[in-house]
Structure formats: C-alpha cells, structure tokens
Amino acid sequence: MGKRKKRKRQKGHNKIAPIEVLEKKASDALQARKYRQARDYLKELYKRDKEKYLPDLIAAHEGLALQMINEGRFSDAKQVVDHLTELGATGKKDWLEFIVSFKQGDFVKAACTALRLLEEDDNRTESGEKLLMYDSLVLSFEPLDIAKISKQSSIIREANQVQAALRLVCEDKYEEAMACLRAISLSSPFSHWKLFVKGLIAFYKMEEQKARKAFSKLPDQSIPAKAAEPYLLLLDGPEGLKKYEKRADVLGLACWVADRKDLESVLPRAEYLWRVGRFRDSYAHVRRNMGGFPSEDQGIIQALSDFYLNAVFQMKERDAYRYIDFLDKMVARGRTDGIEKLMILRTIGLWLELTGADDPIVLSVWKDFLRWHSEVYGEDRDLQALVCVHLGDLFSREVPGDAPFFPLSGRARSRRPVVYNERLAQYCYESCLEIDPTNKQAHFSLLGLYEKTGQKSKINKKLDEIIELFPEDKDTLYKAGLRCMDRRAFIKGMKYLERAAKLDLLDMRVREAFIVCCIKAALEYAKRSKVERYRALLSKALEYGESDSDDFNLGHAYLYARWANFELLNNNVTDAEQLLDKASELARHESRFLYFKFLVGRLYEVPSKYMSSIEKRVKKEFSGRASPEKAMAFADVISYFQRALRTIPKWFKEEQRRVNRYIRKTAKGEFSQEQARVLVEYALQNRDEDLAWSCINKALEQNPDDPYFLFVRFQLEVGSFYGFVDEEELEELKRILSLAERQRDQELISRIRKTIQEIEEMACVGEIFDNHDEELDEEEEDLDEAVDIFVENLLREANKKRPGKQRKKRNNSSGATQLNLFD
C-alpha cells in the first residue's frame, strides 16, 4: 500500500477517533519515544484544543528533532525546529536550533544562538552542552562583540583570544600565540582550546614530547580532542597507527595535517585494503587514484611505489605468489606504462630468484627488464653489466652436491659443493665482459667460477689477463703467484708475489707465500750449484721474513737454517757454519730448532757426512726422560712437515713413529691443559686414537668441564655417525657449547655450532625418511618380510660399526684396549 494512501486512511481514521483514544495513543507514543507518531496524534488533538495540547505537541517536536540530530538528519531536524518556531516554542527550541546550526556547519549562526543561550543562562543547559556552545564561539571565527552581551564579556574575550592565537600559529608567530593564551585561565571554559593551541605550537616547533603531552591531556569527546587525533597519530608513528588504523576519518585528517591533502581520498582506503590482506586491491586502488603512481622519482609517491613493489618480499608465500601473479598479468596485458613495467619486472626478477624458479625464466625476466630499461632511459652499460654479474653470481653459487647422509647407516658424508649452473653463469659473466671488457667484478667472478670448477688452464689464463688489466690488485697478484708456484714457475710467481707484498706489507699471508716461493726456487738453484742465485733469493726472502718469529717460513732462524743446508749441498761448510751460528742465536726453542734443522737437511738431501753430528744430537734429544715441552716442540715440527710435504718419504715415516713414541711416553707423565690440547691435536692429526684418549681422559680428570676436551671426546665417540646422535647426546653437546661460550673460545664455539647444525640437519632428513616409511607402511602393510629382515640387519650392522657407542661402554671399563676409530 502506498504511503499517501496509508496516511489518508489514518487521517480518516483519526477524524472519527474519540479524543480519549487519541490521547492514549499520543501518550503511549511519547513514552515509547515514537515522536513522529506522537506528533501526528497530537497535531490532531491540537486542532481540537490548542491550549491544552500545545505543550505535548512541542515536546513531541523536540523529541523528534533530537532523534533526527542523533541520526545525522540535520536538514530534517531543521524543518522540525522551524515548526517549533511556528508553534511559538521557547526553551529547548533554542538549544535545538543551536545544535542544528552547529552540526550543519553554520558556526556563525550557532555562535549567535549560543551567545543568546549563554546570556539567558537559565541553568537548564548541561555542562556538555555548554562546552559545545563555547566551542561554537571559537569555531565561528568571527570577532564577537562584547558590548552586545555584557554578561558574558569575559567569555567573549577569551574566545577571541583563542581565535587570535590560532591565527598567530598559522603565521609562525609562536611566541605571540603563547602570549595570547596567557589571558586564558585554567578554569576558563576555553582551557582545552588553550591546551590544543599549545600542542599545535609544540608540534610545529618539532617539540614532539611537549606536543604529545598537550594533545593527550585534552578532554575526551571535545572538539580539540578530535582535532588532535591526527596529530597524535603522526607523532606516535606506527604505534599510533595501531590505535587509529580502523578510523578512516582520522587517517584522512592525518593526510591533511601532513600537508598531503591529495592523499586523503586514497591512503585511508589503501590502508584498509592492505590491513585486511587485500594487497592486490590496495595496489589497484592506489594505482587508480594516485596520479604518477608508481614512480622512480623522489618523493612520497616514490616511497609508496617502493613499498608496493618490495612488500612482496615480506609476504607469506601464498599471498606473494598471488601478488606477483597480479603484477605479471598487468604487464602481460599491456596495462602498464614504461616506469611501472620496469619496476614490476625488477620485482618479479628478484622474486623468482628467491623462489628458485627455472633459470631460463629468471634470465628471460631480467633480459626483458634490460630491454625495457634501454627503451625508457636509453642504454646504460654499467647497469647492464651489473645485472649480468648479478645473474652470474646467482648461477655460480655453490650448492651441496650429495645427499647429506646415507639414511640407513646414519653416516655423514662430506658435502662437496657443486656450482649451481656453470653454463649459465659463464654465459652471464661473458655477456658482461662483452658489454664492458674491463669490468673488474666480472673478471674476478669468472675467475672464481673457474676456481670452483677446477679449470686450471682457464684460471692461469684469466689471472694473466686480470693482472694485465689491473696490475695493482693485490689479491690477483697473490692468486697468480700461488698458481705459478703450483706450475713450478717460481720466478714468475715470485714477481707476482713480491708485487703483491709491496702493495701491502702487513699482509703476512702474501709475505709468507713470497718466501715459500723464494725457498722453492732457491732449492732448485742450490741443487744445480747456482750459488749466487740461491743466495740472492734467500737474501730477498730474509727481507720479507721476521727476525724474531718462530714461524717455520717467516722466522729468520729457520730461513738461515735452510740457507745453511743449501750451502752444505754445495760443500760450503764455512758459510754454512756461519749461517747456523746466526740461526742458533735467533732461535728461541733449542729442541724445536734442532729438530727442524735436522729434518730440513734430510729433506734437502744434504750429504750424510754433514748430517751425522746433528743426527747424534737429535738422538740425544729424544732419549732420556720425556718432557712435555720437548714433546710439543717435536709435534710442532713434524706437523709442519706433514702439512708441507705432498709425498712422504720412507725415512720420514720413521721420524713420525719416533715422535709418536716420544709423545706417548710424555702422555704417561704430567702435563698442563694447554700441553694436553697440543698433544690431542697432534694425536688426532695422526689418527692415534689411543694417544688422544689418554690425553683427553687425563685433561678431564683435571677439569671435568673443559669444553675443548669434552667436545673432542664427543667427536671421538660419535665419529661421523651424526644420524644416530640421540636427544641426550645433543643436549650434552649444547651444554659443551655453553661452556665454550663462557670461555669465549671463538674457534671452538664455531666448531661446536657447525656440528650441532649438521646433526640437526641429519635429524630433519631422518624424519623425512621416517615419515616416508610410515606412509609406505600405511599403503603397503604386507611388505615383503625379507626386506624388513634385510633392513634390520643393516641397522644392526651399522650400530655394530658405530664406534662411539662401543667407546662409551669401553670407557666405563677402565684399562680396556681402545679401538681405532679411523681404521
């Protein structure tokens, strides 16, 4: 039924309705706050008896107007207020008139009404209502005439002061603004405005704490408190955003305060969409509504562009995939212009790299990027070269070659790394060198690739090329020198290494390599009796050596000892004796020096007639009661030669046995923790497990919490069977780590951490296999019994072979013979 018809019928019905019924209905409607209905009934009654029903009719109108105001229907409310005027209502009508004007933004009219109400001051108005009236006086921004309303002169004066202070703030006249505010007392109805203006002054003077303090003290629901919210949001940063993120009005006003009115219609919505996880919609919204987005230029639009195109790297996998797909589709459909396409291609390229996409796809995206970049900005060879090197580095990264362990044996395998995609890496580096033939990074990266893949001839060729291009590069010269030594091109190697050493005299690594190269070349000359040549080379080596060093390569004592042996090779006994005298003067550890001199003489094949006396002295050194100091010296010397020799001669093995015997003898006596450590290292290097165990047990008797010996014991027990390390053992290893951390033994800490990591990796792989087994169990319950037996046997075998477990048991029974872990 139409509204008009219904009303007509209702009117007709009212006409015939008795007064009592209408009164009852009007009263019920008023009580139920159904003011519209009440007004209709009362209108009818008013026609019959104006005087009697006027107060109720006014009450109904007032209620209706208030209801409309609360619902934000201000123009409807205004009509009702006009009716009230027609009815000659007073009292609340003025207040309603005020509130309607206020809410409709007619602050001048609201202020006039407010002044009238305040002048009457019939004490009927509530404090909240009064506060709004005072606010209207400020918001009218009209100079109020004091003469008109004498009763409220102080109030008018204060309102004018607030307005003046605001004007002065806008003119950067903060001191004058503060002076204006002084006239407003704390008890003034404008004290909250005073606080707000103070906050504004502090805000624009960059006094953030003060501003925050002033704004946060404002009374809730007051107009200044509302106006301060966007300021507080900006002051509190991301924390403030958490509080206001759902308030689009505050976000919009914050754009205004931040002097970015252009973002007011874009950012609040974009923020909402982003916050609810509609990332693509947020991008699309900004793109649609923000001119110049995305941009690579400076400014907030650029910052927003950066955000929208880099945010994908912080998203969850599923969201990131969708976001990238969305960007990709925009490019594919040709909806992007030059800059946007460029920025999107860059993002997609970087994202594909992270997600391990197929290499040709990654390559093609970056190729597209370069092509498009040239179209937009013109050719930039530096940029192209950089992208090529970046891709080369990506493809030449090393990845583990083998599975970490064979699951059934639980044994760790060495994870020899392999180059991820050698062919593409080489292609990228070469492309870079085509663009920029002198690109240092590309040359070095290509050299690195050859080194990783062990292409020796290419390495040598590349090194020569690099040295020609970059003659002042120390690392290249050093590498080239080492490679020359490998090829026995000692003179060339020396040249490179000396140049490198001169570039950085503090780099001991380079100096040592140079000296080694000199010694090697000198030995060749000594064997060919080219006396002057080897002497010149050894003099040179001494220049780069250290007079007071105990280093077997750098120390002058040891260099002189070598030189003396070269002289003996050429039967220059007097020279040799003089050199040995010099060497003896410089040597600080007699046993160490003597044994070195002896071994180096034997290695250089000095005639036995010159070796007999020293041999006797060495024999004497080894005889008698074993001392830990001597044991350490012999261990040190023999270890040096073990490291230096590529092939070990027969006689040297006998020397190793002699040192081993001596050290074992020492191990039966007393020694310090430090000496024990050297002896254990030696024992491990020589795979002498018994010796290692005896030193470890002794050291742990002295200090049961020594992390080094605990860790070595763990390693000996577990060996490489990381797959079988149980929770308890892992916990013990973590305890050892904490002990090492307390001692700040960095080398030990990193060794333990690496072991823990490897064990945990193994556990993960083990779990995968376990889960897989479970799946198999579910699917194929009737597995061949023979397979089970076979697997069980294998596991039993593996456990049998696992020496650590056996070692544990053996440790408990003292005096039992220990098995050799490595045999």
Partner: protein, 101 residues
C-alpha cells in the same frame, strides 16, 4: 626511509653531490649528539656513495621498512626537518570538519 630521502638528494645525484650531502649532514648530526640519525646517514651514504652502489640499490634492493601504505606517510612526515603550519583558512576548515564529523 629511502637513502636518497635521508641524504636529501635527487635520484640523479653524482658522486660529488652524494659526498657533499653526506658531509653536510654529518656535520649537522654528529654521532655523539644524534647517534641514530648519524647511523641512518652513514648507512644511506654507504648505499649511494658511487655509481655502482647506487645502481645496486636501484636494481637489487628488496627491503621496505614499512608494513602498510600509511606507514610510508608517517615515516615521510616524521623524517621531515621542519613542519610548516597551514594557513588560517585551512586550519579553520580543518577544525570545522573535526566538529561536524
């Protein structure tokens, strides 16, 4: 914040401009008085000090310090060296909007 914004230079700045901007800022924000700002300036300089660094930043930067679009505005605003108040008409309009919302 974007290193260009931190140093207050344009994207087409050359090595000399970058260095000059860096030195100016370091003088203005010495580490003993402004440790955070100094750190920010030094990091920005390290990213832009030469053409290669600038290109690397342009090509391979995956970072964004923001978690939502509005944080960009907030950060941008908080990093500004000075704040200028609106004119009187604007503040009138602003306050009236706050009153009627």
């Amino acid at each position: 914040m974007n290193p260009y914004e931190v140093l207050g230079i344009g994207v087409d700045a050359d090595d000399v401009s970058v260095r000059n901007a860096y030195l100016d800022l370091v003088r203005r924000y010495p580490p003993e008085r402004h440790p955070e700002k100094f750190k920010q300036i030094t990091e920005a300089y390290a990213r832009l000090k030469d053409k290669k660094s600038r290109l690397e930043y342009y090509l391979f930067n995956r970072e964004t310090p923001y978690r939502s679009p509005f944080e960009v505005l907030i950060s941008y605003f908080s990093e500004a060296d000075e704040r200028r108040p609106p004119n009187f008409e604007e503040i009138k309009e602003y306050l009236r909007r706050c009153a009627t919302q």
